[in-house]
């Protein structure tokens, strides 16, 4: 277990040593938060309504702050890490080591998102102080399940490097998915009722649903549904990762491309 802890530590220190990058990301997120919050404040002002799709103005602002923090937590880093390993042929070195490469990737992912996780937890704590132990544990459980699910999703995207020559398009695809499907622009709850099934896609679970959980706007039924869907996605992604990994390793020549 200690070896994985070092991976966690290394990637955390790497993140913290590139301070400009870190602050630029924070600045970009603040811009994005500002843009959405002010836009929605104007919408509330001119709609003449107290709530939009059952969400009050204060909660909407909180929603937009938290969902943007979550975009920092859920990064695309593993896609490019795996792709670099596969393309350079350095994956061979990793395969020789007595570590599970996907597990190691998870701890690197955790290290990279650690400062942002602290910010998220801080905001969670301020917004919705947890009084009930059961609710607290349940929230933590849902968060961890979705966190693992999302790592599996980006890992799967990274494994496609065994076949794809160009991997950079994954970033805009990912951003677009988080914008619309993840609820970064607006909570998916504001969409008409026949779009509600969108709530349980992996991006929405990570963005929309975790934010709803943080602002305390999630019913018990929604909570359990999200949990169930996260587990279903984990199962499905697990099978796909297994397949991609096996097939990919057969294709892999270890000489770089």
């Amino acid at each position: 277990m200690m070896k994985y802890f070092f991976s966690f530590q290394n990637s955390l220190f790497t993140l913290l040593s590139y301070r400009t990058n870190f602050w630029v990301r924070i600045f970009t997120t603040l811009l994005s938060i500002g843009m959405s919050v002010f836009m929605w404040q104007a919408i509330y002002k001119f709609s003449g309504q107290e709530t939009v799709a059952g969400i009050g103005q204060a909660n909407m602002s909180l929603y937009l702050v938290i969902v943007n923090i979550l975009t920092l937590v859920f990064s695309t880093e593993p896609i490019f890490r795996l792709s670099a390993l596969i393309r350079s042929g350095n994956l061979s070195v990793m395969l020789l080591r007595p570590v599970n490469i996907l597990m190691q990737g998870f701890f690197e992912y955790l290290g990279r998102s650690f400062p942002y996780l602290l910010i998220y937890m801080g905001v969670f704590w301020v917004v919705k102080p947890i009084s009930n132990l059961l609710v607290g544990l349940g929230s933590l459980g849902l968060f961890l399940t979705i966190y693992v699910m999302f790592y599996m999703l980006v890992t799967l995207m990274g494994l496609s490097s065994f076949w794809l020559i160009q991997i950079w398009p994954m970033q805009p695809v990912f951003n677009a998915c988080f914008f619309l499907l993840g609820g970064q622009l607006f909570p998916l709850q504001v969409l008409p009722k026949n779009f509600r099934w969108l709530l349980y896609n992996p991006f929405s679970l990570a963005g929309n649903q975790l934010t709803m959980l943080s602002i305390g706007d999630m019913s018990e039924e929604e909570f359990f549904r999200s949990f169930l869907w996260a587990l279903i996605w984990i199962l499905l992604l697990g099978v796909l990762i297994h397949l991609f990994w096996k097939r990919g390793n057969l294709r892999y020549e270890g000489v770089g491309m």
Partner: protein, 256 residues
Amino acid sequence: MFRIYKTLIAQSLEENMTYRTTTVLTIIFGIAFYAISIVAGGVYFSFAKTIYGWQFIDYLNLITTANLISYMYQLFFVVSHEELTETILQGNLDYSLLRPINSYWFHAFYRLDFPSTITVLLTVLVESMILWSRQPTIQQLILYILSVLLGVLFVFDINQIFVTATFWFDGLTSLTGIPEDIMNASARPSKIYPSLVRMIFLWFVPSLAVTNLPVEIIQRNYSWGSFLWVVAIDLLLLRLSYIEWQHGLRHYVSAD
């Protein structure tokens, strides 16, 4: 001069044709993000018919114009700027310094990004339909076109200033995305922002003025003051970036 530019254009075309998949993907993503802003606008205006006197068509005009400005910047300058950062960092600038040309303009016009012609044409088409429905006068139309060109110059200026800063700071690659982020955040009606933010981005770094001015011209709701102010700031920034370039060259030591 035009002969050099023609050669550079031919080289760009050749490069773009070699990487065809990249070309197609760039076009698709360019359009996807524009489409996302339209969807977002549809959601915004489904809750309020007008926002600060703006209707959905004005919002559509705003994001189409903002995208047009950004696609035109991409078409003419984005690849040149990307290459310039690399060239400075790797110490390869010597070759262009030896040539009997103005190195500032040579590197500014070094490459065209041909895929962007598609996105530029698409936004021009949508914009023409918007303008058709608004029935502007000839004077408004001319001012609109001028203000879009001023927008492109503004985006060029701020990017050029960031890129030239590579002469002094090598860890700046992450900062070069900032002009784009600022322009993205400016693709909203300026009135939604609090007065302090509005003052900064209308007058000091007039990114909001640049995106809002073309729409206000069509709305017949503009002042000559803000138009002339954007002209002045554009020229000032251009001059600043030129002085920065000259200082940068004196600082340059051609080792990577």
